[in-house]
Amino acid sequence: MNKGSDTLVNLALAWAEKYHELHSEVEISVTGGGSGTGIAALINRTVDIANASRQITSGETQQAKANGGNPVEFVVAKDAIAIIVNLDNHVDQLTLKQLSDIYSGKIRNWSEVGGEDRVIVRLSRETNSGTHVFFLENVIRMGNSNDKTLFSTDTLLLPSSEGITSETRDNPNTIGYDGLGYVTPEVKVIAVARDASSPFVLPSADSVNSGQYPIARDLYMYTNDQPTGVIADYINWIMSAEAQVIVTQLGFVPITPP
């Protein structure tokens, strides 16, 4: 049983299907529901593996220990968000603070961040996308959970990655974001700096794995105690190059650069 994060659910499903092809005797059932749901199920010992797009909290660890468990953490993939603009846009780099100000509506013109005198058109995924929530928490609110800043109301909410790519490709006013794996050569990727004194970094498997690129997160699997038998085999396989190829295919960043 494998339950948790909706961000991870497609990846976990792809892994489970592939693993079932290789080892037909192993049946893995995968469900989503959110990281909290997955970890709660782990605490209640109703799942073998919990998927989470955030780290387990100390409170959750204590609850698990009170139930006789001992969560063990595995980083199984990484998720990075690329900031994209039109190829004709002269802006190459932005700080996290500038991105936050652009998306919350404080910066409304490209000239304020070193570009031409053009209105900024903000593009975002729909609110039900895991990427949307990650962007809100880590870019707009810059990781501060007490910050209640929201997206500027005139942010365009597009239903698909395709919509964001095509509007960014055609329109020189736009700024958009998307999972690193979905970025096409038709758009320009912006280098991002954590703060004004940090270097500007382009997203790549290397810069994400080294922790230099600021808009990235680890994706986790948790088990109760060190896994043994079938579950250990499965998690070892997930860490293998064969399974990490699937990570790249689904638009995430593999933990070991291919």
Binding site: T127, F151, T153, D154, L157
Partner: protein
């Protein structure tokens, strides 16, 4: 004996299918009420009538969505009604018989194009062109939605209005022409008023098609929940009720507040289209009564 038995069965089959339409509407309405009304106890009225729609942080202001739908629909009506009626008049009254035989099926084929295909054309051609022509920040606007919806509503309007015009008796036109009226005066003063209730139905069906359309609108209006109160709202992005339901229903947890609010929006949509329907049939009925009074 067998004959009456057959008739009995047929009679009932027809009755059942007739009543089932009413029953389905009633069931849909009941379901919407059942799933949507909990909203009123879960969300405060001030929140519901606020200007911010951001459901994942419990901001449930539906006014921007209602405004977005109304703006796009009114825009679509402004495009579709004149063009649709003129096309219908041309096909029914002006064009020669052979052209009519070609044009009518062509318009009906146009009505069969899936809206998602039109949406793609909207994203790839319409929105970029609007942005260039009007020098807008983005082409994904209420205007793009209105044009696209107008295009979707036109075949409906043309088809129904043309049928209505065509069913006006030949003798009306002959009488008018014999009295010395020109062709245009005959169309404008005699044929069109005579077909009034059918034409009104055509317009309503067209508007109904427009307000309920989802896919195409979601693709081209930009979906930004901004309340459209300013003059330039038509060239700004808007978010419609239908697009909101379509975009968010798939991921929402059953029986959560957000789920109930989405059904509440469905209820609002239902009431609005019911209102349009009732208003239009009332207008048609009033005109028929007046016509009967004049004739008697």
């Amino acid at each position: 004996m067998t004959k009456s038995w057959n008739e009995f069965i047929l009679d009932w089959l027809i009755k059942i299918s007739g009543y089932s339409a009413i029953i389905f509407v009633a069931l849909i309405f009941y379901f919407l009420l059942h799933e949507g009304l909990p909203t009123l106890s879960e969300v405060s009225v001030t929140n519901l009538l606020s200007l911010r729609w951001y459901p994942i942080e419990d901001y449930f202001g539906i006014l921007p969505l209602i405004g977005g739908s109304l703006l796009v629909t009114v825009g679509a009506a402004l495009f579709a009604i004149p063009i649709g009626l003129c096309t219908a008049i041309f096909i029914a009254e002006v064009s020669p018989r052979w052209a009519r035989e070609i044009l009518k099926p062509l318009v009906e084929i146009l009505g069969g194009i899936p809206s998602v295909v039109l949406g793609f054309l909207g994203i790839l051609i319409l929105a970029p062109s609007l942005r260039r022509i009007f020098d807008l920040p983005t082409g994904l606007t209420a205007l793009a939605g209105s044009i696209l919806l107008g295009g979707i509503a036109i075949p409906t309007i043309v088809s129904v209005a043309e049928d209505a015009l065509d069913s006006v008796p030949r003798s009306y036109r002959d009488a008018s022409l014999a009295l010395g009226a020109t062709e245009w005066q005959t169309i404008w003063r005699v044929t069109l008023p005579a077909a009034r209730s059918g034409v009104l139905t055509a317009i309503m069906l067209g508007i109904g098609r427009a307000i309920g359309e989802t896919m195409a609108v979601m693709m081209v209006t930009g979906n930004a929940p901004v309340i459209p109160l300013k003059l330039n709202s038509i060239i700004s992005p808007v978010r419609t009720m239908t697009a909101t339901i379509a975009a968010e229903m798939g991921e929402v947890a059953k029986n959560s507040t957000h789920y109930h609010v989405l059904f509440f929006i469905g209820l609002v949509l239902f009431v609005i289209s019911l209102g349009i329907n009732i208003a239009a049939s009332a207008a048609a009925l009033r005109q028929r009564q007046r016509a009967e009074r004049i004739l008697s």
